[in-house]
């Protein structure tokens, strides 16, 4: 497993923990990081984002008031269709969704234009999120958590990615997908899903299954696929050019 892949597994398994056990208290992304450290880490974002007094849009949108904001909704900023789509579908920036986006922008938002590889360390992310929180109107959206618990406590579940999918089963299951997604990889209004590295594919599908990604059709479709079935689909679609 590449470093990059390992990173995503974490995002997924974390997301699953959050989705499955809402009652078990704040975990992972919900932790409060240290805003001062966050300010330092924000340097990497500064290449593209401004925050604070008089912040304006630059390469990316300004990040004032980002908490509780609908994704893709800063006026006069030209977002990608993917982010607008996600916002239209109900993606709202919270500690959890920011955490998933910063870890791997493309696994949360289909075809986002944010050309940022992602921030692998959950701790770093929690600091940046704490920093951004200071510039938001609604800081109450971040649940306070025990400062002692650390995001890295959450065991990575490589099991999901380790599943070797059966491409034949995947091919059969793909029939359902090809009513909307084109086998040729063209996009006439629904994104192409062919030729993806299978890990990306699995991550995206689990993001729908665990309802981190907002789209209702895909949530329904992914929601009833087992981990094995997702693996089979990933294997099959990876093989298509």
């Amino acid at each position: 497993m590449s470093v990059w892949t390992a990173r995503i597994v974490k995002a997924v398994s974390l997301a699953m923990v959050l989705a499955v056990s809402p009652a078990s208290g704040p975990v992972g992304a919900s932790e409060i990081g240290d805003a001062k450290t966050g300010a330092r880490l924000f340097q990497v974002c500064k290449a593209c984002h401004r925050v604070g007094k008089d912040a304006r849009n630059s390469v990316g949108p300004h990040l004032n008031g980002v908490f509780g904001r609908v994704a893709g909704s800063v006026e006069a900023f030209r977002y990608s269709e993917g982010l607008i789509r996600a916002g239209a579908d109900g993606l709202i920036w919270t500690a959890d969704s920011l955490d998933a986006y910063l870890e791997n922008p493309k696994s949360l938002v289909s075809r986002t234009r944010m050309n940022f590889i992602g921030m692998p360390s959950a701790e770093d992310r929690s600091h940046v999120i704490a920093y951004l929180r200071a510039f938001s109107d609604k800081p109450s959206d971040i649940p306070e958590a025990e400062p002692t618990s650390t995001a890295t406590d959450h065991a990575v579940d490589p099991a999901i990615l380790a599943i070797v999918g059966d491409p034949d089963y995947g091919e059969y299951l793909s029939g359902e997908c090809l009513t909307c997604h084109q086998k040729s990889g063209s996009d006439s209004g629904i994104p192409a899903i062919t030729g993806w590295p299978r890990e990306d594919f699995v991550v995206a599908m689990h993001a729908y299954k665990t309802e981190i990604r907002p789209h209702p059709v895909m949530r329904m479709i992914a929601g009833r696929l087992s981990d094995e079935e997702i693996a089979g689909l990933a294997a099959y679609f990876e093989s298509l050019e």
């Binding site: 239209a88 209702p216 059709v217």
Partner: protein
Amino acid sequence: MSLSRRSILKGAAATAALTTAPMIMGASHGKPKVVVVGGGAGGATVARYLAKDSKGALDVTLIEPTRTYFSCFFSNLYLGGFRSLESLGHTYGTLASEYGINVVHDWAVGVDRDKKTVSLAGGAALPYDRLVLSPGIDFVDGSVPGWDVTKQNHMPHAYKAGSQTELLKAQVEAMRPGGVFAMVAPPNPYRCPPGPYERVSMVAHMLKEKNPKAKILIFDPKKKFSKQGLFQAGWENSYPGMVDWLDAEFTGALEEVRPESMELVVGGEVTKADVVNVIPAMKAGRIAEQAAITNDKGWAPVVPATLQSREDENIHVLGDSAHQGDMPKSGFSANSQAKVAANAIRGALTGSKVFPAKFSNTCWSLIGTNNGVKVGAAYEATAEKIAKTSGFISQNGEDAALRKQTYEESIGWYAGISKDMFG
């Protein structure tokens, strides 16, 4: 393109000339034979998946009278001016040339279930090991008193796409200023539950621009209809005061239509209209009846997991004609069922692995420019029926960006399903 009488006649002549040739080939093979009747959403898909996945192990014949299939799906968008008619037309060339399917342009007119043959209008009888019927719908005679198919030029149904849709559009365009468009809506069950109401939206869209004082009346035998809240809010917002939905409880029953004088008699009162769109009650395509596999309501009951007829295990029924449970009669459903059936048929005839059945459906409707809504669900096969397991529906009050996105998605879907049917 215009579906002129001439092009239809030309098509018919060509059909007659072609009916016998490919079939002889079919009969000379030793491979298991599947004959598919109807090259629409269910039939084209099942033929393509059978041919593609069996990699030559099956002999697949598709019987379809028309050379160009005009999809009903998106035909309302043509009425509204959002699509051309050409863009809804699909031909069978790729299925024949790339998938090796014997495409026979003829009508199936009879099924001999003992001999396992299908007879064609052209006179031939095709043998099958498995027969798939996906003939769409036919209308129930007498369901709208005063109307039968000989009246369809006065009062079009436009519920099979093509020249009927073209006629209806021309009639709406020719309406006098402030005229009345009346729709006779069908009783349940019928193909495309939101279809009549999407049509009303598209007619309203057209009238709003060209004939803003015109009125639309819907005479409906049902007390409620698909996506009702979404449609009614949409009409209120986009076409205020134009659309009146009148259910039979309120008006009294529709007693008769009078195509010669363009009148409708409802609850004892006579209403005159400029355009009358009659959508009669429906039943399975006639060939299902001829095969004697329909129930007393005119639909063909099927086994959920395989779409086999409850009457005959060698016949599978897909799409609108099938009586299967919770799935709406839609192109999406027919396409979904086709893949399950293809898997089952291939398993039975070639011994390939059979995977569990999974079905889904999403129906998009366009209310006005960039105002798309959708409803969808997932289904599983139980012993008794195809049963809904989960679903979703668009909500009132969604913002414009989401409605636009939903519309754009539907365009993506149309492109996707067209490829999935015709290659």
